[in-house]
């Protein structure tokens, strides 16, 4: 009797997991199809577009780049040089040294010949930790360095927001390398439509590429497993996921590593929150939510061709912390804004986007782990057929592989951002290997993040940067 109940429970769970993965993967394929449609439209729109015109324009909006840095002495100079050479006419770089305990400020003073600008007139529209000093560079007038007491990334971005003077603010991580013409591409939706309040761009994995003087000079897919498999994940998330959301209700996430916002809209929303580890997503959800509640511009778009490069963890320990933190951030944001979920008042955001983030992004690792455990235990205790277990694996991981290959095909058809066909075949190999161990491990870390969120953990965990594979600029 008990055996029958356990068997029925196991089989029922397996069916649930099977159905769940079928639905999720079908939706992901729909997102991919929408992404393909959007990418085609986008390619046609930008064919032979004269972006150079912006460069000489007297009416181009000022963009303030906000770059928070905490203990980034290894990469900060290269990142700032890369930012200062972006091809955009009205550019201001605001680097916020968020109470670094290493030599970040000293490195900046040495490399950019900083001069202290004490107590400049700043209107403190958002409260932040005390600002210790403001610096301007004698060599590069467009650089402003804010030295403040440590308050976390959100606090640093808020300090940058109040010091900045641009109409638009671009939030990036200090270790992000932005492609030279990325801002010219990114600003397009803001000029096109007054309803746009934020735009995100594609992030690619820099590990494996050659970087010279703060620029990626040779795009290459990573050759090591861990960065390689993350490169595949980034491709799926950005090329298939976020582009697809442009047509299915708009994005809820603009990556903290690279996003462009209307500065006034950010300030009116109160800036970044300090008490969450998912501050980038939280701000976007809040901005969209407020736009629905108060009326006004609310569109969040993803523009696929402006590219920024970011370093991903090369060690399991660091990756585990990152995924744990990301998932805690996601859970926290969805919990804070739970009233949006399935609420028709918020339109597509309430009825499609937010439920997707709950049922797919948040719960998928839990369902996946349950499915794997049930399959293994069921096979051990003989309550699940081997054929059924194989069917589960096929649906859960086989469809995932199809999705990965289709994403790589889309990449081949559009941007070829990782060099040649050979690089994409390397990524294909990583994509095929991803399901063996890596996916289960990340699912475990994410579930652990969920549990830690329930227990109230709010820490960031240390993220060690190893620096890019870089060479100095050639001397003339």
């Amino acid at each position: 009797m008990v055996g029958d109940v356990v068997e029925a429970l196991f089989v029922g769970l397996q069916w649930f997991v099977l159905g769940y993965f079928l639905i999720v993967n079908a939706f992901l394929i729909l997102l991919l199809a929408m992404a393909a449609v959007d990418l085609r439209r986008q390619r046609l729109d930008v064919w032979q577009e004269g972006r150079w015109r912006l460069l000489g324009s007297d009416v181009a909006p000022v963009i303030s780049i906000l770059a928070p840095a905490h203990n980034e002495e290894a990469t900060v100079t290269e990142s700032i040089r890369s930012l200062l050479t972006l091809r955009y006419p009205s550019l201001e770089v605001v680097l916020v040294n968020d109470g670094s305990s290493d030599a970040t400020l000293a490195v900046l003073e040495r490399d950019f010949d900083l001069v202290a600008v004490h107590a400049a007139p700043i209107r403190r529209r958002i409260e932040t930790q005390p600002i210790r000093g403001l610096y301007r560079s004698r060599r590069t007038p467009g650089l402003v360095v804010v030295d403040k007491e440590n308050g976390g990334k959100a606090d640093a971005l808020n300090a940058g927001l109040v010091v900045a003077t641009g109409e638009l603010a671009c939030a990036i991580d200090a270790d992000t390398i932005v492609e030279p013409d990325a801002l010219q591409r990114m600003i397009r939706p803001f000029l096109m439509d007054d309803n746009v309040i934020a735009a995100g761009g594609t992030l690619r994995v820099v590990n494996g590429a050659d970087v010279r003087a703060g620029r990626v000079v040779r795009e290459r897919a990573p050759r090591r497993f861990l960065p390689g498999v993350q490169a595949v994940e980034y491709l799926r998330a950005f090329l298939a996921g976020r582009v697809g959301w442009n047509r299915l209700g708009g994005n809820l996430i603009i990556s903290g590593a690279f996003g462009l916002f209307r500065r006034e809209a950010m300030i009116e929303a109160g800036g970044y929150r300090h008490d969450t580890v998912g501050e980038d997503m939280e701000l976007v959800v809040r901005m969209r939510r407020l736009a629905h509640e108060r009326g006004g511009p609310e569109q969040i778009v993803f523009v696929p061709d402006p590219v920024a490069w970011t370093e991903v963890p090369r060690r399991l320990r660091i990756l585990a912390r990152q995924r744990d933190r990301w998932h805690r951030g996601l859970a926290d944001v969805l919990h804070r804004h739970r009233r949006v979920i399935l609420n028709p008042r918020y339109g597509a955001m309430g009825l499609v986007v937010a439920p997707y983030f709950v049922f797919v992004e948040l719960l998928a690792p839990l369902v996946e782990l349950v499915g794997v455990l049930v399959a293994i235990l069921g096979l051990i205790f003989g309550v699940v057929d081997i054929e059924f277990a194989l069917l589960f694996l096929l649906v859960a991981y086989g469809l995932g592989l199809v999705l990965t290959v289709l994403t790589l095909a889309l990449e081949e058809w559009t941007f070829c951002g990782y060099g040649g066909l050979r690089d994409r075949l390397v990524l294909l190999l990583f994509g095929a290997l991803e399901s063996i161990g890596y996916r289960q491990l990340t699912a475990f870390w994410r579930v652990r993040g969920l549990v830690r969120h329930w227990r109230g953990h709010r820490d960031w965990g240390a993220m060690e940067r190893e620096g890019f594979r870089t060479q100095p600029a050639e001397q003339p």
Binding site: W47, V59, V405, A409
Partner: protein, 348 residues
């Protein structure tokens, strides 16, 4: 229960999907590699031929043959790649070559297409290569903002009065990119745009008036100052603020005095704009009035007035130093902060 048939079917479907996806990836990649290899040499020859055309200012039969060896798409891409890098006579030579090879005619045909993306493509090509004097102007009134925008970009190098007049009519375009491009084109047209801009400044309201005043500020032609002065008493504070900027950009005693009266405007954005304009003009007779603005209730006015005074040099700094003993906390505060600055630059 036997799952075997279902498993087999699922495996077959998945295998089919996987093979199709892989084929898409590998075949497209291989095709791209092969196409790049086979077109490398003809493209290089055609590029050299086009460079030679720009250099010699004529299309030789050999160069025409080299260019005709490419597909129409590759030929167009090549013209579009080289044309923005040259100007003057070489650019005209490229335009003539494009005309001789039917590239211009194709682009003009596209401009008349029913499909808006094709019209956009035609206008883009003609903007890059030149030509399209009859095909592009009707696109300034195209229903698609993308096409209007491109036509406005084309118009920047066509100072004919009808085209400039159409551009000024577009200053209230509902789409931001079209407005931005129209403003940019009018700025590039410079003196040719002054007369219709003056008419627009006099007659337009709202967005169009602000856009016209913004363009006027960038051009800063003295002929625009009387039109702007007439809008200094407008009901709309945005119009008054931009009129102040334009009048300030033109300069001169009469205009500076007109700007100084706006330091008492009821709207803080107008007072702030007036303070910056006076700072830029170095109009020191306005220093006492700017000194009063240090206690203004608006932060932006206080900051701009303080920066303007600091930019006057010793005379302004004297007033800032006096403000350090002012009864008003905000005046003392902004004076202290501004005097501490190692150097000043007035905000935009």
């Amino acid at each position: 229960m036997s799952w075997e048939p279902l498993l087999l079917e699922a495996a077959l479907v998945l295998a089919g999907l996987l093979v199709a996806a892989l084929a898409l990836l590998v075949v497209h990649g291989a095709w791209r590699v092969a196409a790049d290899a086979s077109w490398r040499r003809p493209t290089a020859e055609a590029r050299a031929a086009l460079a030679e055309t720009a250099d010699r200012l004529e299309l030789t039969p050999d160069a025409a043959r080299a260019l005709k060896r490419l597909t129409a798409r590759r030929r167009i891409d090549l013209f579009a790649e080289l044309a923005p890098s040259v100007a003057g006579a070489p650019r005209s030579a490229l335009a003539d070559a494009a005309g001789a090879l039917d590239v211009i005619a194709s682009a003009e045909r596209w401009c008349r297409s029913r499909r808006w993306r094709r019209r956009l493509r035609g206008a883009r090509l003609l903007t890059t290569l030149g030509g399209g004097e009859t095909a592009v102007p009707p696109l300034l009134r195209d229903p698609r903002p993308e096409v209007r925008t491109q036509a406005a970009e084309w118009a920047a190098s066509h100072p004919e009065p009808e085209i400039v007049s159409t551009l000024t009519d577009m200053l209230d375009d509902p789409r931001g990119l079209a407005r931005f491009t129209v403003m940019d084109s009018l700025i590039r047209l410079g003196a040719s745009a002054v007369e219709p801009l003056g008419t627009t400044i006099d007659a337009a309201g709202g967005v169009a008036a602000v856009a016209a005043l913004r363009v006027g500020t960038a051009i800063a032609d003295p002929r625009l100052a009387p039109h702007a002065r007439r809008r200094l008493d407008d009901d709309d504070p945005a119009i008054r603020a931009w009129a102040v900027r334009l009048v300030g950009a033109v300069g001169g005693d009469e205009n500076a005095a007109a700007v100084a009266t706006r330091l008492h405007d009821p709207a803080d954005e107008v007072r702030a704009a007036a303070a910056v304009a006076l700072g830029r003009l170095g109009h020191w007779p306005a220093a006492p009035a700017l000194g009063h603005c240090l206690a203004d209730p608006s932060w932006a006015v206080r900051r701009n007035a303080a920066l303007a005074l600091r930019s006057f040099g010793p005379a302004g700094e004297l007033l800032l130093n006096r403000a350090l003993r002012d009864e008003d906390t905000f005046a003392r505060d902004i004076a202290r902060q501004t005097l501490d600055l190692p150097e000043v630059s007035l905000p935009a």
